[in-house]
């Protein structure tokens, strides 16, 4: 599936048709990510609920949510994994890897959680 992962990664990187803006982090350490709600919903129960009609507020068809308790560097990894199902952890710092473990648990991305855990053990 390497072709699929590659193509989906380009979808994330050149997200010109995005419909979700996620403001990650707090204060100075904040970054906006652009993504596609369909993909996030499909990959994470957390996003599935977060983007359900009961909870979202849309402006010009754009969904904006905050995720202050996750660092942008970590969220970037989360997003990459959500889109491609692949994540190379060897280049990451130990601290980020632990944060990734915690975040994947919070966002209920079980697959990623196991991936990180396997890496740690």
């Amino acid at each position: 599936h390497s072709g699929l992962s590659k193509d989906l990664l380009s979808l994330l990187n050149d997200a010109d048709d995005y419909n979700v803006i996620i403001q990650v982090g707090e204060n100075r350490n904040m970054k906006e990510f652009r993504a596609h709600s369909v993909i996030l919903r499909a990959r994470s129960p957390y996003f599935k609920s977060a983007f359900s009609a009961d909870w979202i507020s849309k402006k010009n068809n754009m969904i904006t949510i905050n995720k202050p308790n996750i660092a942008p560097t970590v969220f970037e990894m989360v997003l990459k994994y959500i889109y491609t199902g692949e994540l190379d952890l060897t280049k990451q710092s130990g601290e980020d890897i632990l944060s990734l473990l915690v975040s994947s648990d919070e966002l209920l991305i079980e697959e990623l959680f196991n991936h990180v855990q396997d890496y740690l053990i």
């Binding site: 129960p45 609920s49 977060a50 009961d54 949510i65 915690v102 209920l108």
Partner: protein, 778 residues
């Protein structure tokens, strides 16, 4: 290591317990507030991310149980409030027994409507609460083995609203639901959406102890009980007020309504149960009453051929266990009754006819037979039609009808003779108006009656007699039709049944060839040619119904005796070792009679010819007495009387009898009727061709049949013993019965007698050790 174990490093338990408690309280306060806002439908001011994070943190910090219990409390409080502020005020006005004051069930409908709103609000809120507590569901509820929060919500709704301990909500709910259904049964229009909403709600709630739905535990039984009672009353009312067809239509409608009801707003699991109740109360309990309804029940429907009603009854009654049995037995009884009536009209006719059997009323006998068969066929047609149009060709019904036909047909001991006569009538008169196809179809139907006959050997005997007369008197429609009929019999009874009948045809064919040869022989011969044309049919005695030992005597005129002699020489010259016996009772003759007015050609029987020729020597006006004719001709008395009747008492009076009258008595005087006139030149003096037998003849036939049965029984015994060598008494009897029952039903006493006769003649012996066992002696 559990996958959920808190990872080391960044996230640690907060150091100060106080600040942890504070954190918890803060988180929980926000969550509780948020849930309240959700209940107030103010969710749009809330942040999913924040609430989720709050709950997440609480669970993460081992406060999952506190969170869970807190949520339970908030929801319970809310539902209590809903009960007081919304549900209780919506109770129908006069409480549980409100049907009188509330004839349209408006209060009830409103109550259901409120409940519907309450339920919908609750489920909507629970979905949102589930969203924000998803982490609790996934991490806490699983390990603590408690229901997921949505299910918790359902349980709370069940206990706080539906089965509230504080308010009689449950009573009202059940009461209103049942009342709504009752109103609908009484043709009121109800708002099905509200009822359906409540039913769906009950279906979604689960009873904790039975794990069944609250619908099943709280509602269904009550529904079934009231339905039972409702239809019990309705059933009694309906049978009293409506006739059978109307009753069935009502029941049909009810069944349909209940089915629709289930489909629209009850659970499918209730469908068979409510159907059973309607079937039990409206069908099973009134089966007999409806079947036996005067002027409209099953028998009147049959009588008036109400196929739609019959079809409806068949379908409707087929739903219950005894339904079809009751119908079958009622119809069978009716068939037997009708059959008995047919038998009775015939018996009364034949006894009347038997009384003046000697009066020369020749047609009546055959007519009675034809009419009997025709009536039975009509009856058969009628029930075939019923079977076809109303009973879906149900095999079980067919079997029971067949049994009924078999029963009454065999009640008439003359049925084998009648059926044979009926066939005779059709094969003889077939050309008069009926096409070959029509005759064929009538004969096909007749075969179905033939199947019902128990004594097929008796039928065979009569059939042979009637066929013989048709063949010898040239009365048959056509060879094809005759052979067609024999083909049908062969299919029914097999080859051995029809061999002799086929032999009769063979004799006819061979005789025709023989006569051609005879003519050639005469042409070439130097002998004096006979003064008359002689046509002889040579019959193989075993094929034809004749009795050689009692061959009919008759003094033939010399001319004829001479011609017979010539033929005899010719024939025996070709076939040595055969014996010819003249069957003068079976022949016919064409003679020319000179009357005052004109000459006529008379086609008469051999006996009639013999009688008429006696008058050749007499002067005009000179008479012969009965005794003279009898003495001179030597014709057997019964035959003589019958033939004299044909000549002197029937349509063409060639002879004049003194004194006048229909009966021939000793002392009667006969004169040649010189004044005889008739429009046609050629006259056929009707001979007694086929008619129902007189009692005497019947007795004789019966004896012959019994005699034949003895032989057949012995043959069967020998056949079986030859094969088995040794056999126990009862087994042998059973086997013999099995072999013979296609022809007749042998009784064990008869078989036993035949076994003894065979032992006497040393075909069998009793086994030395066991007297109930026989050995075959080769």
């Amino acid at each position: 290591m559990s996958s959920r174990k808190q990872p080391k490093g960044k996230i640690r338990p907060p150091k100060k317990p106080n600040s942890a408690d504070a954190q918890f309280n803060d988180n929980w306060d926000r969550l509780a507030q948020a849930i309240r806002e959700i209940h107030k439908k103010n969710a749009s001011i809330l942040s999913f991310e924040e609430l989720y994070r709050n709950a997440y943190n609480m669970v993460l910090h081992k406060n999952g149980d506190k969170l869970y219990n807190g949520v339970r409390e908030v929801i319970t409080q809310h539902l209590e409030e809903v009960a007081v502020s919304q549900v209780v005020p919506a109770f129908p006005l006069s409480g549980a027994s409100s049907s009188q004051t509330n004839p349209n069930g408006a209060g009830g409908a409103n109550f259901l409507k409120v409940l519907k709103t309450v339920w919908e609000d609750h489920t909507t809120c629970m979905l949102m609460i589930r969203d924000i507590l998803m982490y609790m569901d996934r991490v806490y509820a699983k390990t603590a083995n408690v229901p997921l929060v949505y299910d918790l919500g359902l349980d709370l709704f069940r206990d706080t609203i539906v089965r509230s301990q504080n308010y009689p909500i449950q009573n009202h709910l059940l009461e209103v639901l049942l009342q709504q259904i009752k109103l609908e049964r009484e043709n009121e229009i109800i708002d099905r959406t509200n009822v359906k909403a409540s039913i769906d709600m009950l279906l979604e709630l689960t009873d904790a102890s039975t794990k069944d739905t609250v619908y099943a535990t709280d509602f269904e039984n009550k529904f079934l009980e009231t339905s039972s009672e409702y239809y019990r009353v309705e059933g009694q009312m309906l049978v009293g007020e409506y006739d059978a067809p109307e009753y069935m239509k009502k029941v049909d409608k009810r069944l349909n309504e209940e089915e629709q009801r289930v489909r629209h707003y009850l659970s499918q699991t209730t469908e068979p149960k409510i159907r059973n109740i309607v079937e039990e109360e409206l069908i099973s309990k009134h089966l007999k009453t409806v079947i036996e309804m005067e002027n409209s029940g099953l028998i009147p429907m049959l009588r008036n051929e109400k196929m739609d009603d019959l079809g409806r009854m068949y379908k409707l009654f087929g739903r219950v266990v005894k339904g079809h049995d009751e119908m079958k037995s009622a119809i069978s009884d009716y068939i037997r009754e009708l059959g008995k009536a047919i038998n009775e009209t015939v018996t009364s006719n034949t006894t009347a006819e038997g009384g003046n059997a000697a009066s020369g009323d020749k047609q009546t006998g055959a007519t009675v037979a034809v009419r009997w068969v025709q009536e039975v066929l009509d009856l058969k047609d009628k029930f075939d039609k019923v079977q076809n149009l109303a009973l879906s060709n149900d095999k079980a019904f067919q079997t029971s009808f067949n049994e009924a036909f078999e029963y009454f047909i065999n009640k008439n001991s003359k049925s084998p003779e009648f059926i044979s006569l009926f066939i005779d009538d059709n094969l003889k008169k077939g050309l008069k108006g009926k096409t070959e196809e029509e005759v064929d179809s009538v004969l096909d139907k007749t075969i179905t009656l033939f199947r019902f006959i128990g004594e097929k050997d008796v039928f065979e005997r009569y059939y042979k007699q009637h066929l013989a007369k048709r063949l010898l008197l040239g009365r048959s429609v056509s060879d094809d039709a005759e052979r067609g009929m024999i083909g049908k019999l062969k299919v029914e009874c097999g080859y051995q049944f029809t061999t002799k009948l086929e032999g009769m045809f063979n004799d006819m064919r061979i005789s025709s060839d023989t006569m051609t040869d005879f003519k050639e022989y005469l042409d070439k011969s130097v002998l004096e040619k006979p003064k008359l044309d002689l046509s002889v049919t040579v019959l193989t005695s075993t094929f034809w119904p004749m009795n050689l030992s009692a061959s009919p005597r008759c003094n033939l005129p010399p001319e004829l005796t001479k011609a017979c002699g010539t033929f005899q020489n010719f024939y025996l010259g070709r076939h040595s070792g055969r014996r010819l016996t003249w069957q003068s009772n079976m022949g016919t003759a064409d003679i020319r009679g000179s009357f005052k007015a004109r000459k006529h050609e008379l086609n008469v029987s051999t006996y009639q010819m013999v009688i008429l020729l006696m008058f050749n020597d007499k002067q005009d006006g000179e008479s012969l007495s009965y005794e003279q004719i009898k003495g001179e001709s030597d014709i057997p008395e019964a035959d003589l009387k019958r033939n004299l009747q044909s000549l002197a008492c029937a349509k063409y009076k060639i002879l004049v009898k003194e004194p006048k009258g229909k009966e021939i008595n000793p002392g009667d005087q006969f004169n040649f009727n010189n004044d005889f006139t008739a429009p046609l030149q050629r006259i056929k003096i009707q001979t007694v061709a086929s008619k129902v037998e007189s009692e005497g003849e019947r007795k004789e036939t019966r004896e012959k049949v019994e005699e034949a049965r003895k032989h057949q029984t012995e043959a069967a015994i020998v056949r079986i013993m030859k094969d088995r060598k040794t056999m126990e008494h009862n087994l042998l009897i059973a086997e013999v019965v099995k072999q013979l029952q296609s022809r007749f039903m042998p009784n064990p006493a008869l078989i036993k007698k035949r076994i003894e006769a065979l032992i006497e003649r040393e075909y069998l012996e009793r086994a030395t050790g066991d007297r109930r066992v026989y050995n075959y002696l080769a």
